[in-house]
Amino acid sequence: MAKQIFEGIKVADFAWVGVGVQPSRELAEHGATVVRVECHKYPDSLRTIPPFKDWLPGIDRGAFGAAYNTNKYGISLDLNTPKGQEVAKRLVAWADIVTDGMTPGTMAKWGLEYESCKKIKPDIIYYSTCQMGQKGPLYKFGGFGMVGTAYAGYCYLLGWPDKDPLSLFNNYSDFVAPWYLTCAVIVALLHRRKTGEGMYLDQSQVETGVTFLAPVMLDYIVNGRIANRMGNRDPYMAPHGVYPCLGDDRWVAIAVSSEDEWDDFCCVIGDPEWTKDPRFATFLGRKENDGELDRLIGEWTKDFTAEQIMTMLQDAGVPAGVVEAAEDLFNDPQLKHREHFRFLEHKVIGRHAYNAPAYRLSKTPNHIWKAGPCLGEDNEYVYKEILGYTDDEIADMLIEGVITTETDAPAGF
């Protein structure tokens, strides 16, 4: 196989949970050697949250932790022991990049914050990512993407205008933040190549979330308007929404964005009388009467499957798409064509799905080959081959509990 883009780049991956581990995964999927440091005594919370294989909790049974750590080597190490910290520093000395996704102050407790790492490796690139950023009055706030997303303004914009806001199950800002950080770390690698200098990167996940709401923020800053949640309506389109279809809880999204599309839409639904009603003959009319418009369209959609409606409208050039549930994604012919889901053999879970990146490179495609590691799965390789410890030293560390092997942490939430 051709040389991978980041081959030779070494990452000491101390990050955990959702954000900090994704940029390092991105590098690993293009050839970087990433060693992920975890501990049985304080397992990553992604290892204690479902989905578990067969619903049975277990630190190596969850797809959550595995999915974010493709192509990485996993070791177990207790950073709360002096020897554990010494080992971690040897890993830092080996690395080009150190990752930190802890609550601010945690890495310093172990002597692994940027300043210390820089002493060990003067040109180290080091990223820290947390909800609020490393400094400021709220820096200590230790949270998760769900609250960060609420703080950044997303929850307020999800749901119906006359009802309570809704939660974003996916911790949405956790899926904006990693990509900013991936860009930043690549830029920092090239900066080091040019200048010989390392760099410290400090990310606020709340801020990354706010950038994806920039139009809403500017509307408030400039016009004083506080945007509200509006169900599935859009300020600039009608019809616009998700409509009920044949089947159990099945829906199709339809958005008509121009007069031509409206004409084509009417043609597909058979030019019923109501489309000539003065209330719907003009865009302003449709906007004003969007409630009744949605009801009438729902009357038409309910007799077809979501797939049928998508095909009929798309064939006429009107934007429409199945509201895909997870099951649909696995059957989606386009995602299949793009080989989005890649299946890898995990030591405990067995064969299961991993995501490919959203971009394809024409000359240097990524290579996804290793399932997310079980906790400590690669101890032997990393401690011996990468860090150069002898069998005796490793045995001692096992006996002393520096290399951890067992957990008594409960699962669930």
Binding site: A63, Y151, F175, I186, D202, D234, G241, R338, N355, P410
Partner: protein
């Protein structure tokens, strides 16, 4: 960011519309020289609202303002022979070309990657489209809601018994844009090492799938379709508990729970103690949260009753407090609770202000400076600076065509009369 550092000195030609504008903006944030190329008369994305002071005008779109920060702007009709030739000359000077046309459009003009590579083998061409360059949906039309629906992000939001929901602020093309930036930079790193350019083919749909957290994994392992369950958290169609509550002056979001997730357990214990202090929720005093597992609600009716009682208690307690009161004490006691902010709350956050997140950008033609969201990653001691507000239509035509490419002013007039620029 200052010249010649980070991406300073690298040039980006940005042909995108709303589907890809964010990608070039991000490269510009790192200091690249981004030239937005618009069709004569201006890009259609200039018609996207909201607008400055609600004046619908192509020079006043706030969407445009944000997504074109740190870009210069020229006009060029790349469909005309003169336009094509001019574009090719620009490609010789460029490091990246970003486009978001329908697949095949650039090739139909003779400007596909194969052609551009001949002009400049180092060029990276990034194509950002809803579904990627090939495949059965490659020519499907999208808007935000259609895109996020097909990426799975509508199904996981909403309330039981109601239609699924999209976020009332577009995300589909922003996701495509940022993954476009990642792909472009991965390719850029390779080029810096080897001199080899390549084509980066981005699917906005896949970008959205990557944002679903573990929805896909739930199906893969357990054959469960995650569906939106209102103001809280749940699984498998079963609602675990409410995490969003009304308080005296708005809403708060609290992640309470028990069992293994220490932060959730501590939150439950500490919020109970706060309520107990006011004589509320006394039935949860000394409750063994450590043995409590919300997710067991699926199997255990007793847990459901306990959850209902706890939620009822929280609902009553929060109504006696303001967001700020709750948040201040939450910070002190490691309670995972935040105010559920609207746009005003975000702008007034003391944290964002203290980090210097907001950037004031001068708009001389409007006679004022506008505050923008800044850059969310601090890059060592290199300050983030907005070098350039979004360009006016054709604002840098003279800079690029006359000063750089050496066109005479007469030639510029000729191109203008033919509608090339």
């Amino acid at each position: 960011m200052a010249e010649q550092i980070l991406l300073g000195g690298y040039r980006v030609l940005d042909l995108t519309d709303e589907k890809g504008l964010l990608c070039g903006k991000l490269l510009g944030d790192f200091g690249a020289d981004v030239i937005k190329i618009e069709p004569p008369g201006g890009d259609p994305a200039r018609n996207i609202g909201p607008f400055y002071k609600d004046i619908p005008h192509p020079e006043k779109s706030l969407f445009w303002f944000f997504t074109n920060l740190n870009k210069r702007g020229i006009t060029l009709d790349i469909e005309t022979p003169d336009g094509k030739q001019t574009f090719k000359r620009l490609v010789e000077t460029a490091d990246f070309v970003i486009e978001s046309f329908e697949p095949g459009y650039m090739a139909s003009l003779g400007l596909g990657y194969e052609e551009l590579e001949k002009i400049n083998p180092r060029i990276i061409m990034t194509s950002i489209t809803p579904f990627g360059q090939t495949g059965p949906y490659a020519y499907y039309k999208t808007t935000d809601i259609v895109g996020v629906a097909m990426g799975g992000m509508v199904r996981i939001f909403g309330d039981a018994g109601m239609p699924p929901n999209r976020i009332s602020a577009p995300q589909f093309y922003f996701q495509g844009g940022i993954h476009g930036a990642v792909g472009s930079l991965v390719a850029h790193y390779h080029r810096e090492l080897t001199g080899e350019g390549q084509h980066v083919d981005v699917s906005c749909q896949q970008a959205v799938v990557l944002s679903l957290m573990i929805a896909a994994e739930f199906w893969d392992l357990l054959k469960v379709n995650y569906k939106g369950l209102g103001p809280g958290i749940g699984l498998s169609g079963i609602y675990f508990s409410r995490w969003i509550f009304r308080c005296k002056d708005g809403y708060v979001f609290i992640m309470w729970g028990g069992g293994a997730t220490t932060a959730f357990r501590v939150t439950s214990e500490q919020i109970t103690a706060m309520a107990n202090r006011d004589g509320m929720m006394l039935d949860f005093k000394d409750f063994p949260f450590v043995e409590f597992d919300l997710s067991k609600i699926i199997f255990d009716d007793e847990i459901k009753k306990t959850v209902d009682r706890f939620v009822q208690g929280l609902s009553e307690f929060f109504l006696t407090k303001t967001k700020q009161e709750l948040f201040e004490e939450a910070l002190e006691k490691s309670i995972v609770l935040v105010p559920l902010n609207d746009a005003r709350g975000v702008l007034e956050s003391p944290q964002l202000a203290a980090r210097g997140f907001w950037e004031k950008v001068e708009h001389p033609e409007l006679g004022e400076a506008i505050t923008y969201p800044g850059f969310p990653v601090k890059m060592g001691d290199i300050p983030y600076r907005v070098q350039q507000r979004a360009p006016l239509i054709g604002e840098h035509n003279e800079d690029i065509y006359v000063k750089e490419l050496g066109f005479s002013k007469e030639k510029l007039v000729l191109l203008k009369t033919r509608g090339v620029i």
